[in-house]
């Protein structure tokens, strides 16, 4: 009997044909600012609540990505979307205005790669011609749900992370121009007993390592086989842990490895350990990574988006933080 593999292989090579990112001002001021498609100065997007603003960002990302792909919204087979809010309100309310069949997904900050994995699987199997994957997060709405009121004065430890205000959408299509989604590795839920909800990087790094090692074993590759390896939002602390954990397992990640959350903000933006949130890997994938792949600077990329699966309720009950990581491999046709 064959060893169980966590990695799905998409033999029909579904393509990521277009991507769109919409980010807030702070993210736009960061090192990746020039790569993002749209930078919105108003965190409410002209609406009256932050939640509506987040929904509007997601809608804009989906519509923008469809336009870039040369598609009408109604041509898209299905929308795979998720965000960080209870009952997935941002995604569902965005989908309310879009005439597209809708899958609501929750995998915390790893929702983007889960969406790409599912969309690519459906497109690979021929169920859909095209599918959209979108996720978003918003600093103000996440603070309210997971932490404290915005104007409440509190200090955070230096390893805390800053929720990214961003939305990203990618269009997966059976054919077209763009890098192919060749593999998707579905992660296991891992928990190493971290209870400090401020140290999500440490909680999630073990999931990232678990999935990364699974990818290397299943596909018989090593880190050297990739032009770049990204984790979703481990931050400075988490990505350092990730390097150590992989080294312990015999995989040296080296210079090709970076973390989307760490790249998002510069040190002087005072965002502690870096960015986090479902919009973090979504916006980096659909602008920075996709751009570099289309420019042929990278030909093979492994993206490991990580998600911490706790809620304020479980945190207050003293539960530790389970986390998950889904990986996708993107490859340019040679």
């Amino acid at each position: 009997m064959k060893r169980r593999s966590q990695t799905l292989v998409f033999e029909n090579r579904p393509k990521l044909i277009a991507g769109m990112s919409v980010v807030g001002k702070k993210e736009g001021d960061g090192p990746l600012g020039k790569y993002f498609d749209r930078i919105e100065d108003d965190p409410k997007m002209g609406k009256n609540t932050f939640e509506k603003g987040e929904t509007a960002m997601l809608t804009e990302a989906v519509e923008g990505a469809a336009a870039k792909a040369g598609l009408k919204i109604s041509d898209i087979g299905a929308l795979f979307a998720g965000d960080l809010l209870n009952q997935l309100v941002s995604s569902s309310y965005a989908a309310r205005d879009l005439p597209v069949p809708y899958f609501g997904l929750y995998s915390a900050c790893s929702t983007m790669t889960e969406a790409v994995a599912l969309a690519a699987a459906c497109v690979n199997a021929g169920y859909y011609e095209t599918a959209a994957c979108a996720t978003g997060s918003h600093f103000a709405t996440a603070e309210r749900q997971y932490r404290f009121p915005l104007e409440y004065g509190c200090q955070r430890p230096p390893y805390a992370q800053w929720t990214v205000t961003a939305a990203g959408c990618g269009i997966i299509s059976a054919d077209g121009d763009g890098p192919a989604v060749t593999h998707a590795a579905i992660g296991r839920v891992v928990d190493y007993g971290i209870t400090d909800a401020n140290n999500m990087g440490a909680a999630m790094a073990v999931a990232a390592m678990d999935t990364a090692i699974a990818v290397f074993v299943d596909t018989e590759t090593s880190p050297e086989d990739y032009d770049a390896i990204f984790t979703g939002d481990l931050g400075r602390v988490g990505s350092e842990i990730m390097r150590d954990l992989c080294r312990e397992k015999g995989a040296e990640l080296g210079q090709r490895y970076s973390d989307c959350g760490e790249m998002m903000f510069s040190a002087k933006q005072k965002c502690y350990s870096g960015g986090s949130g479902a919009g973090c890997s979504a916006s980096v994938l659909n602008s920075f990574i996709l751009g570099k792949m289309n420019a042929r600077e990278y030909d093979r990329v492994l993206l490991l988006a990580t998600g911490a699966l706790m809620s304020p309720t479980t945190s207050f009950q003293g539960e530790s933080i389970p986390s998950v990581c889904h990986g996708i491999i993107l490859e340019n046709d040679l």
């Binding site: 409440y152 004065g153 602390v237 530790s320």
Partner: protein, 155 residues
């Protein structure tokens, strides 16, 4: 699951080691200065109010803390209190001004859900523990002192 417990303990220790620490002296000095200055502001207000004829020192203390509370709530509304508190730390939340900030920030945050179902419901979401514990423990203190007085025979 014993090997998991051991693995988790080892990982916890490693995380503790690799995570950057808060700069101890720096944050202590900032908390000291922020807290001290808040108290001095209160003291100045108390002494000035105490100069008004007919106002006792005890009344002046009450009015001074009311002034501090109102000032902190106003600063919260303007969005400057949390910027100061990010430096002040305990120096900003331990004084009565921190109590006021916690209350008003929750009130503002949930205004979007309506004045009745948002602001009014959630106003005590952060300071609730202080009020509840204050009422319960002070009542216990009152009852205790009453019993002691009974035994002592002073009432």
């Amino acid at each position: 699951m014993t090997d998991n417990a051991e693995r988790n303990a080892r990982y916890g220790k490693y995380v503790e080691w690799i995570s950057p620490k808060t700069d101890y002296t720096h944050s202590l000095v900032k908390a000291f200065v922020a807290g001290g200055l808040t108290c001095v502001t209160g003291e100045i207000a108390r002494n000035l109010l105490g100069m008004i004829p007919g106002v006792t020192d005890e009344q002046a203390a009450v009015f001074a803390s009311v002034l501090l509370v109102v000032a902190a709530i106003f600063m919260t509304g303007l969005g400057v209190y949390d910027a100061i508190a990010r430096h002040g730390g305990a120096g900003s939340f331990l004084p009565i001004t921190g109590f006021a900030n916690a209350m008003s920030s929750a009130a503002m945050e949930f205004r979007a859900e309506g004045l009745i179902t948002g602001t009014a419901v959630k106003m005590f979401s952060v300071v609730g523990p202080v009020v509840v514990n204050g009422v319960v423990w002070s009542a216990a203190a009152g009852v205790l002192r009453y019993i002691v007085a009974l035994i002592w025979g002073t009432i």
